[in-house]
Symmetry: C2
């Protein structure tokens, strides 16, 4: 295990899809799984994604409910530019059919931003070749990537036939109706350059996919005129090269995407690629290292004395930077980033609840502001979404899952009822303002969002004559192992807070267009909102009736029935006391200073035994709270669980992609947990409580424009 | 409006699918919508169904939950035997493209069991023909049907080209994945006889579809050798006949199905059809009248002084008899019978809760016993279903929707949580025994079912430390406008009753294999089960928290928002107080003698204002209870609503098919409601409370083998 590298050695067909996820590359604008360039007939999940290029896939549902969206917008598997067909003396290179794969090794260099794969293949005829492939997606100019593919025949001289191709005949493996999402419009070649222009169906995003190829033998460039292999959705350039035993053939392939492509205008991109190809792969690699050095300069975390924890946090920071750079205002952070199809690359409340603090502290206020503006720009759709559910007068309900502001999700208990997301979006405005001291966002944009959200809560409550309080019926909290409950503490608390915060900001900013009676009503509701509470335990209940459950701790569940979401029927999960992710405790995390430490301790100790952490977003919150309670060992265990979730594949699902948004939670576990960082009265405060075996913890923070290095021991 | 006939006059393209439902024919073994025999290019829902011939259609679901079934078994649209292509002097007869359709009339004669359609068509070239079609599905020999199709040219002599065909290239319009469900295996013709052998995919039901044709001009049989028109899924016999103006061409077509068909063995069926054809259509019609006379003899209800009510109840009784004859032990009663595809022809709790009393009282104990045995035979699947959800030791959960005992439904809040169905199945055993005095069913079969159901309830409850009572968490009651609630009164009450009834029967029957401790535990749970109750209102609450709702009566809903299930998003419905169908009151209906009349009145008056009756199964229960409370006007209004639901198309959904199971509820509204019939201590009791304008109410009842005529004034 290395501080700066992820290394996997040995070839196992069962691990291919898992490692395709872990060794994914991205540059904030696009990303790709670590698929092999050459043919591979074994199990693989091919994936190459371009931020913002999505398709509204027709909703699939068993039983339609009024209000469901017509489609789920998903970031598409994009045309591929990395493909190679390779024959060595007529033998196809395919690691699935090779006689043996020796010395197989993958390395992700996080410090410098590249991925290396090497192996020796014993071909079916017994000949051996050594292959080494170094790949990167360029950070500085985020439309391109490149790889260097080297082949050295080890047992005999080789006639290498290589076809380097573009492929627009790609599918999404999660397509609801097995449709193809791309139409291929045009293709062209010029010497070693190839181009395919394709368009997404329905959304009509035009994307150009390009390649430029440079061939060498032992560093000597080869001028070979390729033959062209062209089908409706495939454009290949075919070369033949003779290489002596122990000499090295090398292909440098540059490729990438131009979005908003105009038909017939691909020569500009050709010139770009030629420019990079002319300077050469080494020059590109050098620039890549520089980019990553400057990223690490504002975001690195150094843990002395714990290589496992060190490697994990770097992997998390690296992936977060690969996913979102903050440079494109229309992009956001999908739960799997560019590493898989699951969750469709769409935006969830993860962004506001978990990711914002990381980007705010490592990239600065402008990037965080962009994340807030993303929601501001989607306010009209959030209002329309609320209207669809019967709300009026400009009340807004932000979608659970979205690409362009419209709701994409279609499970009633989530789509219509997991409404706490609205609160996280308001909380992010507060959090941003607290951290950055930038009050202009609130004045110019934020307040409008807060008002629309407050209006939603004011309409969503109803007055219970029985309780003489306002109640919130039929909601789903962050703990999705309970559906359609009444008076979820976290939701009610957020609603109360939103109503008060909106009222306060409207008054502070002198927004006279909001009637005083309306504000008075918000405050009246906030004052009289109901919270389920147990006198016996001295705790707020997750929701009405929680204490009626059979309150056995999660340790009572037989090991072979874990995770319960893979073994228990849904009703059994729902009536159990088991909590998928921090729910009541999520409220304590957001509003720590609203409660005493004794309250925190009581709630933490009551809910933890029932929490099964079957959401990747759960252990990080528990870890931060455990740290605050001085339970450092527990915090450390939770930290490892969240930070190495993918590297150690705890949940056996890494093959689907990485858990990107929870990686921001990992960062919180360290900075807010072990580091105890808080912003109070405009000042940073720290309260180090490091795991015993850590010699020191050092991290970089951008606080109000200044990069600070915090070293804690 | 006629006592014995349903008549619709005038041709309206918008009404075609609706009338296809209303004029459906069935004979207990098969049924068909009132599709036109000749071509019709307008909107139509083609449907011909054979009881028990189903296909396991692959489940379609948005988000999979553990425990969902892999398929939904649905009764298939079967190959059609009625089809005709007709050309008059070269003009295709198609009512959608005729210049005019005059004197269009449909008549369903319920007394005699036939359906007549007649019209004058003005063809595109101006020629006019008169058509009259009389159709029946034969009750006595339930594999066949026949129709007599008469054409009289009114304006000129006509060359009639007629192709009479079988079609196995049919689709289900509700196919989840747009698949065809039938494979055509063989076809054959012999003179005027045609045959197609087809097989359902997956389930491999082999069905032979047959036809025999006899042609006449003015009663003179025509011996014409047909030409054969044969494609992969179509077999037609083509004839040409010249008919003078004002003379009548007549086709008598006999057709039907042989299930469990052996390939190449279709000549037996040919001989049957020839036998009927030889005797002639009139003979068949005469026999049909006799069959229906004997059905009416044990089931008719005569209402003097109210033709609207009279016609409605006869329509309901007629359809119930068309749907289920009690002669085939493997069949049951689908909510739409043989009149449409919705609900897949599968069995719901409707059978036990609503239909059993009708069939028991009009067809006798043997038929009712068959309905109970249907569930007994499916006990192993019900146990397997419970195991899938984590239950053990022979606990059974009967499916919500089933064809062969396996669960078909896939909405978690229904499939897993609408568990009260288990109670209705136990109640039916009690109800049967009470009505028939046949205790052998309990001893031989019923007790085994009761024990498995009691075991389910005993495991499904949990002890609430908070309440010091047993609770039932996460259920859905009959009111499906609430999902995943705690302590639904109806469900808890049924659970309590089931546990006690099972314990009692086990003891009475001396079933020593059931441990005494287990029975003691059932009784302990029953004794300590929790019921939500409001001291303030003096009523049991539908579920925990019901009084937290915004308790506005349904009259507060703007008319244009009714029915709410077509206008409100699902979450809004769920948190509203509105009740889809009798829920708490369903319990009062089943266990009337467990409560005082005052209690009934309080509950009826509390829940009625919130009840929107958006289930067809709701008004009948309210009607019976209203009668019991002396609210006869209200009972009458509810009776009309339920009995004329389809005839008057209250819910604008008759085009999908008829509400067959609620028709049994209509019967209950009269017999138990206005007639006040109860069985107490082995005796029939009546308590007439007739609507004021009814002169008398007379009905037939089979009570313990004796047909009694009850006349009430």
């Amino acid at each position: 295990m290395e501080n700066w590298n992820i290394i996997a050695e040995g070839f196992s067909k069962a691990d291919v899809t898992k490692h395709e996820s872990i060794f994914s590359l991205g540059n904030g604008a696009m990303g790709m799984r670590a698929n092999f360039e050459e043919d591979y007939t074994g199990q693989t999940l091919q994936g190459s994604y371009i931020g913002g290029i999505y398709y509204p896939d027709k909703t699939k549902v068993g039983w339609w409910k009024n209000g469901y969206p017509e489609y789920f917008a998903k970031v598409l598997n994009a045309p591929s530019w990395i493909g190679l067909h390779i024959r060595i003396n007529g033998q196809l290179l395919d690691l699935n059919t090779c006689t043996e794969v020796k010395h197989f090794r993958r390395q992700l260099n996080m410090q410098e931003g590249w991925y290396l794969r090497s192996f020796v293949a014993v071909l079916p005829n017994g000949e051996e070749i050594q292959v080494e492939v170094l790949r990167l997606l360029f950070m500085r100019f985020d439309k391109i990537g490149a790889f260097r593919y080297e082949i050295t025949p080890l047992t005999t001289s080789a006639n290498i036939e290589i076809e380097t191709y573009l492929d627009s005949g790609i599918k999404n493996s999660d397509a609801n109706w097995d449709e193809l999402f791309w139409n291929t419009l045009e293709m062209d070649t010029f010497r070693n350059f190839g181009y395919i222009g394709a368009e997404t169906k329905k959304t009509a995003f035009r994307v150009g996919t390009f390649m430029e190829n440079v061939l060498f033998v032992d560093d000597e460039e080869q001028n070979i005129t390729p033959t062209v292999n062209r089908t409706d959705t495939h454009l290949g350039l075919c070369y033949q090269v003779a290489v002596e035993k122990d000499h090295t053939f090398r292909l440098e392939k540059y490729g990438g995407y131009q979005t908003q492509m105009m038909l017939g205008k691909h020569y500009r991109f050709f010139r770009w690629l030629r420019f990079f190809a002319h300077r050469g792969f080494e020059a590109l690699l050098k620039q890549q290292k520089q980019c990553w050095a400057s990223i690490w300069n504002t975001s690195d975390i150094v843990i002395k004395g714990d290589v496992k924890a060190q490697q994990a946090i770097r992997f998390n920071i690296f992936q977060l930077n690969q996913t979102y750079s903050g440079e494109h205002a229309h992009l956001n952070i999908g739960p799997k980033g560019f590493t898989g199809e699951k969750y469709g690359g769409s935006t969830y409340w993860d962004t506001e609840a978990y990711c914002l603090p990381f980007y705010m502290a490592t990239k600065g206020a402008e990037v965080a502001r962009n994340l807030l503006l993303y929601r501001y720009r989607q306010l009209p759709e959030a209002i329309a979404n609320a209207q669809k559910l019967g709300f009026t007068d400009g009340a807004a309900l932000y979608p659970m899952v979205t690409m362009n502001g419209e709701e994409c999700h279609n499970e009633w208990e989530i789509t219509f009822e997991e409404i706490h997301r609205n609160g996280a979006i308001a909380f992010a405005i507060f959090n941003y303002t607290r951290y950055t001291a930038d009050t202009t966002y609130l004045a110019e944009y934020g307040c409008e969002v807060l008002v629309a959200i407050a209006r939603f809560w004011a309409q969503r409550v109803n007055f219970s004559a029985e309780k003489q309080k306002y109640v919130l019926l039929g909601v789903t909290g962050p703990n999705e192992y309970e559906n359609n409950v009444n008076n979820n503490f976290y939701t009610n608390y957020l609603a109360q807070w939103c109503l008060r915060y909106a009222a306060e900001q409207v008054r502070l900013l002198g927004k006279e267009e909001i009637p005083a009676e309306e504000i008075a009503q918000w405050l009246h509701i906030a004052q009289n909102i109901y919270f389920p509470y147990s006198e016996h335990y001295g705790i707020y209940l997750q929701q009405d009736g929680f204490l009626d459950k059979d309150l056995l701790p999660a340790t009572a569940i037989p090991a072979q029935q874990r995770p319960i979401n893979q073994h228990w029927s849904w009703d059994r999960i729902l009536r159990s006391p088991y909590i998928k992710q921090a729910d009541t405790l999520q409220g304590f995390y957001f509003f720590e200073d609203h409660f005493t430490k004794e309250q925190l301790q009581k709630h933490y100790e009551f809910y933890t035994p029932f929490t099964v952490h079957e959401s990747s977003l759960s252990p990080c919150v528990h870890s931060v709270l455990a740290s605050a309670l001085g339970k450092t060992d527990e915090a450390y265990e939770l930290y490892l669980r969240t930070s190495r979730l993918d590297l150690d594949d705890y949940n056996k699902e890494v093959h689907e992609g990485l858990h990107i948004t929870s990686m921001a939670g990992t960062w919180l576990s360290i900075v807010e947990g072990f580091g105890g960082m808080r912003v109070k009265d405009g000042e940073l405060h720290f309260c180090p409580r490091l795991p015993k075996h850590w010699e020191s913890l050092t991290f970089k923070i951008n606080f109000r424009g200044e990069i600070r290095t915090i070293e804690l021991k």
